[in-house]
Amino acid sequence: MYVLIIGGGRIGYHLTRALLYADHEVAVIERDSSRIRVLSSEFGNIAIQGDGSEANILLTAGIERADVLIATTGNDEDNLATCQIAINLFNIPRTIARINNPENEALFDVLGIHVTVSSTQIILSEIEEELPVAIEVELLPARGNRQVIRIEIPQESSAIDQLLFSLPLPPDTIINAIISGNGEFKPIDKDTLIEPFDEIIAITHSDHTETLLELFAGRN
């Protein structure tokens, strides 16, 4: 798939990395030249500098052949305008907008922005800022207002040395896989112990994303 990402901030960056890793073709439109340099040095020639809510810049980025557009900037008005251009001018089959102010979700829904990623992304970035260590987290939207979460257990996590099923997992949550630090799948059963550098793949309802992240990455 060809995925066009608008906004190369923290969320755009992590999305780009995850999508490239999954062998998708990705282009990122970003206004800020310093962010462009970060993206280019990390991922090669995939970043385009400009205003992603302008039709001409979207054309430069090859929007006409994009399968998905994801608007990840910190401004809801820009994300909305970008998605509306993508839908109404370029007939993009799927647009996803990050919403920074939760009250805007109703409007995006009415306007047919196909998927909206709710404010959990913001909560996530706030959690990341509050944590003493940079935690490795990625989120992908899934059906039923759920999110697929990949998180690496930081060394300071209060979940370490706890049995997985002794943790107060939030409702509507499935732990899909745990990959240990040495790259092996860990069996998931009543004896599963959480260890540093475990990579947890889980699906949860958007309402519980924050709880789940705190459970795995929070300190005592």
Binding site: N75, A81, I85, E103
Partner: protein
């Protein structure tokens, strides 16, 4: 008639003043307090101004969006006008919504979406063309 005007730049100030002088009830919503300096003193003393963000529902409600007849979005930023106007139209069901969109491509998109989008770019171009012809 009751008007809510978002944005107190040159256009916002001029349109608000004109509407107010015609005897309408006008509220001007603007994020930057300096913008209100463009309004005549006697208009400002009548509590016509409100500091706030026209994209935020609480601020729109404080500005009386629930019972205005017309919402006018004339901020300098197209995308802010588009979001606020669509909120006024689809969330608050304001009877008449007018939205300034400078980018002609976006203007056409929003016209197609049923928004009353007016373009200063278009208007200025026409004025210049007329001036050339005369």
């Amino acid at each position: 008639m009751k008007f809510l005007v978002m944005g107190c730049g040159r256009i916002g100030a001029e349109i608000s003043t004109l509407l107010w002088k015609q005897g309408n009830q006008v509220t001007v919503l603007e994020k930057e307090p300096e913008g209100f300096a463009r309004l005549p003193q006697e208009m400002r003393s009548e509590q016509t101004t409100l500091l706030g963000d026209g994209m935020v529902e609480d601020d729109l409600i404080r500005a009386g969006i629930r019972d205005v007849d017309v919402f006018v979005a004339v901020d300098v930023r197209d995308n802010c006008n588009a979001l606020a106007s669509q909120k006024a139209k689809h969330i608050f069901h304001v009877p008449q919504v007018i939205c300034r969109i400078g980018d002609p491509i976006k203007q056409q998109i929003y016209l197609d979406l049923g928004l009353n989008a007016v373009s200063p770019t278009h208007a200025t171009t026409n004025l210049i063309l007329n001036a050339i012809r005369s």
